[in-house]
């Protein structure tokens, strides 16, 4: 199997290099046969890497512990689904996963892109193949997943206990899919620059791809938060860890692009900015990979430190130079075809939104790299942790939340004062009423209160947009409210799907404020003893330690602390938190004991129980009890956001709108005359 794997990797390098060199040279321009060969070589590349992937999977499933990667990440008693997920659990396997998925995306880009963009496709193939060649080269020269050991151990080390979680089976692939799919829009942008076809064609070609990337990144980040919450046991879901930050960076710039691209489509403006955003997003995705794999910044999520970081750093420099040089040389071809008319316009609101999104991305990047910079400048090491990021980013996040509500309320081109009054009246009132309620309820914390009042404003905006749209449909088509709402969304998926995404963001923001009010305490309890915690919602929770039991399960020895929960004196169930000592098939311990959190999730708050340990090997247990408000809403907000993204992406709906937009000549002439008179 390793022979097949290595052979496939070498074949992939050769095919990819050929595709990249011929594609980028442009020699295919007058030769359709050569152009077809270039684009089809992406299929061959995928076949090579699929063969390599199957070889690795075969090694994993057959427990071939002579392969170093298999011995390092699996064991005979590892449950089968974790054996499969071990493919991307380690550095080497995840590089192969990245390469094979990118080659698949490269193939799909060739197969699914309409023929009218055929001139771009060989360049696209060349760029995606170049990136694949880079990843395969890293494997061949630094981190080969098919490397064999000089001996065959009787059993493997097994998978890190923290990775033995369903969230970890899904979360990394989702995040990788987000990172990887960014390469396709980058390839189209580079193709547009190389071919000098800089109209809006390339933007239409990548519309779905940018949404796919953004959606996968959103799912990956949310699942990552969920995994951190249920598995790491510190009671939160976001710690501004460098690797978490690295996943947020391309998401922020991609979100900025999804907004600013609308301006280019409608007004033929911001061409340079949009190309810059796509190039920047691609570089940030590589930067994220560099951070995760280089060990240059310590992180709970990073892979073992290795020399692959140098490869990524070099690639980052090369890709950045390539992208920005290309952009610089085509600069004169990218003049805007119209100009912004007014500060009070949706275009301007989108521009400020872009500024904030990119500004937050810069701020996160700046904070992540500041320890290195400080050490270079001052020679002393510093730590930049959550207090720094919260202090810098929370005000920016609040501004962005406010703009989320402002954008949809302002008209394109120029909004009149009367229009602004009419649009802002109700949403502003909703925000003020929320503020008044919170103040009356005694809340005085600045950031949470601002966030919730702004959330009220944004909710008012979204409700007003849906209400006006639905009412217009009800009046024009005599439809019932549910039908009008459904058709409103279905007939204009991009706009109303976008509003659903805004609702998801809004729910996120409200849920995040909950953590400002979390309650936590540590307690040592003998069986029968209790401790109480009072939640911000006024409930009293009583935790009674029932006892500690030990048993064997799958590939681990479990020590379970059981707690009886009472809410306001009434029984609310049993919660168990565990200490797990993972063992191999010879019952030898493989890792340090890990902690499994006990969680009872509710709409108001989560009850979060962690068994910290026992006193002198007895049933006297040390627990940490947390009450985490509004955490359920974080996951719900993520689901709403993804649903909104799917609504936008769902195929169809276009032709109906386009038919409506088609202008009848006579009517157009009348209107044109009127417009000319008005000017």
């Amino acid at each position: 199997m390793t022979l097949l794997g290595n052979f496939s990797l070498w074949a992939a390098v050769l095919v990819g290099l050929w595709c990249a060199v011929i594609g980028l040279s442009g020699r295919w321009r007058d030769r359709p046969d050569l152009a077809a060969t270039v684009t089809r070589s992406t299929y061959a590349l995928f076949v090579c890497l699929a063969a390599a992937s199957l070889a690795l999977w075969r090694g994993l499933v057959s427990h071939d512990f002579n392969i170093e990667y298999v011995a390092a990440y699996t064991s005979r008693n590892l449950p089968p689904y974790y054996v499969v997920s071990a493919f991307w659990a380690g550095q080497k396997g995840s590089l192969l996963f990245w390469a094979v998925v990118l080659s698949l995306f490269g193939t799909l880009a060739q197969a699914l892109t309409p023929r009218r963009y055929a001139d771009l496709l060989p360049y696209v193939a060349a760029v995606t193949s170049s990136v694949v060649v880079f990843f395969v080269s890293v494997m061949l020269f630094s981190a080969n997943p098919f490397e064999r050991l000089p001996f065959t151990p009787p059993d493997g080390r097994g998978l890190n206990p923290q990775l033995q979680n369903v969230g970890m089976v899904i979360h990394p692939p989702m995040l990788y899919l987000g990172y990887i799919s960014i390469t396709v829009p980058f390839a189209f942008a580079a193709a547009a620059l190389l071919s000098r076809k800089l109209d809006t064609g390339w933007i239409h070609a990548i519309r779905k791809w940018t949404l796919v990337s953004w959606l996968f990144l959103s799912i990956g980040i949310t699942l990552g938060m969920w995994w951190a919450y249920v598995e790491l046991g510190w009671g939160g879901y976001w710690a501004w860890d460098p690797v978490e930050n690295a996943s947020l960076l391309p998401w922020l710039t991609m979100t900025a692009f999804l907004h600013s691209v609308m301006i280019q489509e409608k007004r033929r403006m911001l061409k340079r900015w949009n190309l810059g955003l796509i190039v920047g997003t691609f570089l940030l995705s590589i930067f994220g990979t560099f951070i995760t794999r280089s060990g240059v910044i310590s992180s709970v999520h990073s892979f073992t430190q290795s020399n692959v970081g140098y490869f990524f750093l070099a690639f980052l420099v090369i890709a950045g130079t390539f992208g920005f040089t290309l952009l610089y040389t085509r600069w004169p071809l990218l003049d805007a075809e119209s100009q912004l008319d007014s500060v009070a316009s949706r275009e301007a609101a989108f521009l400020f939104n872009n500024l904030l999104l990119v500004g937050i991305a810069f701020s996160v990047l700046w904070g992540t790299l500041f320890p290195i910079l400080s050490e270079l400048v001052r020679g002393s090491k510093i730590t930049v942790g959550p207090p720094f990021f919260n202090r810098v980013n929370v005000p920016l996040g609040l501004l962005l939340l406010g703009l989320t509500g402002v954008g949809p309320l302002i008209a394109w081109r120029k909004a009149s004062t009367a229009n602004l009054k009419r649009q802002f009246r109700w949403p502003a009132l909703a925000g003020l009423i929320t503020l008044a309620i919170l103040l009356a309820a005694g809340m005085r914390d600045l950031y949470p209160i601002t966030a919730l009042a702004l959330a009220g404003f944004v909710a008012g905006t979204v409700v007003q947009e849906f209400q006006r749209g639905a009412r217009a449909r009800m009046r024009m088509h005599q439809e019932s409210l549910p039908l009008a709402l459904t058709r409103l969304i279905v007939r204009n998926r991009r706009r109303y799907g976008g509003y659903i995404v805004h609702v998801g963001i809004l729910i996120y923001c409200v849920a995040f404020t909950g953590m400002a009010f979390k309650q936590e305490r540590e307690a040592t309890l003998k069986p029968g003893q209790s401790v109480q915690l009072r939640s911000p919602f006024g409930h009293t929770y009583t935790f009674t330690h029932l006892g500690v039991s030990q048993f064997e399960s799958l590939n681990r020895i479990v020590t379970a602390g059981t707690v009886e929960l009472r809410k306001d004196g009434k029984p609310a169930g049993i919660i168990t938190s565990e200490k797990r000592q993972h063992v191999d098939s010879f019952k030898r311990p493989t890792f340090e004991p890990s902690t499994e959190v006990g969680i009872r999730s509710g709409l108001q708050e989560d009850v979060y129980v962690v068994l910290a340990g026992v006193v002198n090997g007895t049933e006297e247990a040390v627990y940490r009890f947390n009450l985490n408000p509004l955490v359920w809403w974080v996951w719900f907000g993520g689901a709403v956001l993804v649903f909104g993204g799917l609504v936008i992406m769902w195929p169809g709906g276009g032709p109906v709108i386009r038919t409506r937009r088609s202008v009848q000549p006579g009517y157009a002439a009348t209107l044109a005359g009127a417009a000319a008179e008005a000017e």
Binding site: L232, W234, G235, K266, R267, S298, V300, Q339, D341, S342, L351, F352, L355, L356, G359, I360, F362, S363, W366, S374, S380, T383, P386, P387, V392, L396, W412, N492, E522, A523, T524, P527, G528, Q529, S530, V531, Q532, T542, T544, L546, V548, K579, Q581, P593, G613, V615, G617, T618, E619, E620, V622, R660, R661, V663, A669, A672, G673, A675, A676, E677
Partner: protein, 222 residues
């Protein structure tokens, strides 16, 4: 007959055994209840109904639970101490603060030690800032979860905000200037007669006008 007696003897033995078992269970239950009652006093002093009636037994295999824990002390839940510890970076190499590390990574031996240092300084009557200063003096600036906002660190705190503010100001300035220029041009155009004056407005729109119209209609739609 023997066939009859035998069941009688058996029945009486069963009854006796049953009664004996019942008395034994009652005695055991009282004993357990007393013992558990003695343990039912919570750390807060709240008397809770007993849910677990077992004594504090020993675990079959204590080696698989990790490091033995010391019972919770008074300072462990002190809000002031917790807030101080959330500003101190654990020195074990993790990315967590002392409070989070000692209540999350239960194999860490550094965070309990740092916690004891914080409690000791707190008990001496030192303020939060004095405790942080003492830690910086001992472990260096890296021990703080976020650098003090002074000297070069100010660049770290302020640069993103300054960059965004400058960006927003430039954006507003450029758009505002263009808006004014456009408005001036329109005013000037309104003062001069149109080139086709006298002939009357053309009944046929130009391609440029049609293009603008299509775009405007598309904007209205979205």
């Amino acid at each position: 007959m023997s066939g009859r007696r035998a069941p009688d003897i058996g029945a009486s033995q069963t009854r006796r055994a049953f009664l004996g078992l019942g008395v034994g269970m009652a005695v055991a239950a009282v004993g357990i209840a007393r013992r558990a009652g003695a343990q039912g006093q919570g750390p807060d002093g709240d008397q809770e109904p007993l849910a677990g009636q077992g004594a504090t037994g020993s675990l079959r295999d204590p080696t698989v639970v990790g490091r033995s824990r010391t019972p919770t002390q008074t300072g462990d839940n002190d809000e002031a101490i917790k807030q101080i510890e959330k500003r101190i970076h654990c020195t074990c190499g993790c990315n967590l603060d002392v409070f989070t590390c000692r209540t999350t990574d239960f194999s860490c031996t550094y965070s309990p030690e740092l916690h004891r240092e914080v409690v000791a300084l707190f008990d001496q009557g030192k303020s939060a800032q004095q405790i942080l200063d003492a830690f910086v003096a001992k472990y260096g600036e890296k021990v703080l979860m976020a650098p003090e906002p002074k000297d070069f660190n100010l660049v770290g705190y302020l640069l993103p905000g300054i960059a965004i503010t400058i960006g927003a100001a430039v954006l507003a300035l450029v758009i505002g200037r263009r808006e004014r220029r456009r408005s001036l041009a329109m005013t000037a155009a309104a003062g001069t007669p149109p080139p086709s004056a006298g002939v009357g407005p053309s009944s046929q729109p130009t391609p440029d006008e049609l293009d603008r119209l299509r775009r405007a209609l598309a904007e209205v739609d979205d």
